[in-house]
Amino acid sequence: MAQSSLPGAAKRFKFGILDDNPTYRQLLGMCPTLAVTATLAGAVTMAAATAFVLIMANIVVSLLRKQLKGHLRILVFTMTIATFVTIVDKVLQAYYFEMSQKLGPYVPLIIVNCIIICRCEVCASRQPVGVALADAIGQSLGFLLGLISIAVVREILATGHIFVTDTYPGIQVLPSWWPSWSIMQGPAGAFITLGVLMGIVNLLSMRRKSSRVSVS
């Protein structure tokens, strides 16, 4: 594909947040999206870990893009991603041990998060480092937005509080008579929340599109 036809850094950054949002548009990274969004703290930690891996992988792959040809590129992508995931896993175990225990197998599973290998293939392997970095940051912010939006709904409905951790009871959002919707802490609640929010996002997109068409 000709370089001139590919989006630049500003477009890559902007698209990653909303138009190409990895959660609501690309539907990538669904496993951690559903699994770790029972609490806001877990969601933010997972988004931060994924952001680190995505940014570093994009930088490395972009730097090596002219050497990558043929079938070995997937091997290089996987090796790069696995290295940074291992680094993140070790750092979490060393400095955020309780959170690492809570996230459990989902941190090592970042290796198979399709957002990362997709961005390596679609952007980093074809465009310079600056564009790849902007793309990674945009997609990371988009993923963070996706996780936070789901985590806020689930945590508030499940506990009536937000920012709940082991040592902090959280800020009360709903009145004390609110019955805890424990279903929101489990897989069923995750799917329901994701489905409803995705429906709302699609509805807003359709309305925006139709208002643009009517203006033109």
Binding site: A35, L64, Q67, L68, K69, G70, L72, L75, V76, M79, T80, T83, T86, I87, K90, V91, Q93, A94, Y95, F97, Q101, G104, P105, G186, P187
Partner: protein, 199 residues
């Protein structure tokens, strides 16, 4: 074409070396902290099994053979009011994936105080139920000198029998197998080490 493949093979090898060095560097400053965190976790889990105020100290390392493989099994003392009241045996085994359990036994390695999961990659929501009290409470008070027998869920349990978790048979049996194998391998050697200490 051949030359291109050779160039790529070198690239992969160089990357492997560079990444290996990077991981070794990260491991050098994270490994001590991770070990400290795990020790702190073990102390917390021992307190859950032996009662509040239980502390631990440096483990006795038992060299044992399990399934034909030589392993070093750390046995952490459970200490309360300056007296050793039991042991926490850090055991590795296999459920659906690798399991690391802390097996609590009394000072004479005769009575099981239970177990707690230190590390588990079991399927969340299914195999991960091995961390729940409804399952691990079955192990408390069992005879540590005889093997535990997994039986189907709902069956009335005789002594030494453990109801497996419905839908998580592999994980449940993994726990009982891990406990049986590690206790059998460690018991005599740990008692020998204790008697040597006393002399």
């Amino acid at each position: 074409m051949k030359k291109g493949y050779l160039v790529q093979a070198w690239l992969v090898l160089v990357l492997a070396c560079v990444f290996g060095v990077a991981l070794a560097y990260v491991s050098s400053f994270t490994a001590p902290r991770i070990e400290k965190n795990i020790k702190s976790l073990i102390a917390t889990k021992l307190a859950e099994m032996f009662g509040e105020g239980t502390e631990t100290a440096n483990p006795i390392i038992i060299q044992a053979v399990i399934e034909g493989r030589s392993k070093k099994i750390p046995c952490y003392p459970a200490i309360r009011n300056g007296n050793r009241i039991g042991w926490g045996i850090l055991a590795e085994g296999k459920g659906y994936d690798t399991l690391t359990l802390l097996i609590g036994v009394d000072e004479q390695v005769k009575v099981l105080k239970g177990y707690r999961v230190i590390k588990s990659l079991e399927t969340p929501g299914i195999g991960s139920k091995i961390t729940k009290p409804f399952f691990y409470k079955q192990f408390e008070g069992q005879d540590a000198t005889k093997p535990l027998i997994p039986v189907p869920p709902g069956k009335r349990c005789a002594r030494q029998e453990i109801n497996t978790i419905s839908g998580a048979t592999i994980s449940s049996k993994g726990v009982t197998t891990t406990i049986n194998e590690n206790l059998a391998a460690v018991r005599d050697k740990l008692l020998e080490a204790i008697s040597k200490e006393g002399k």
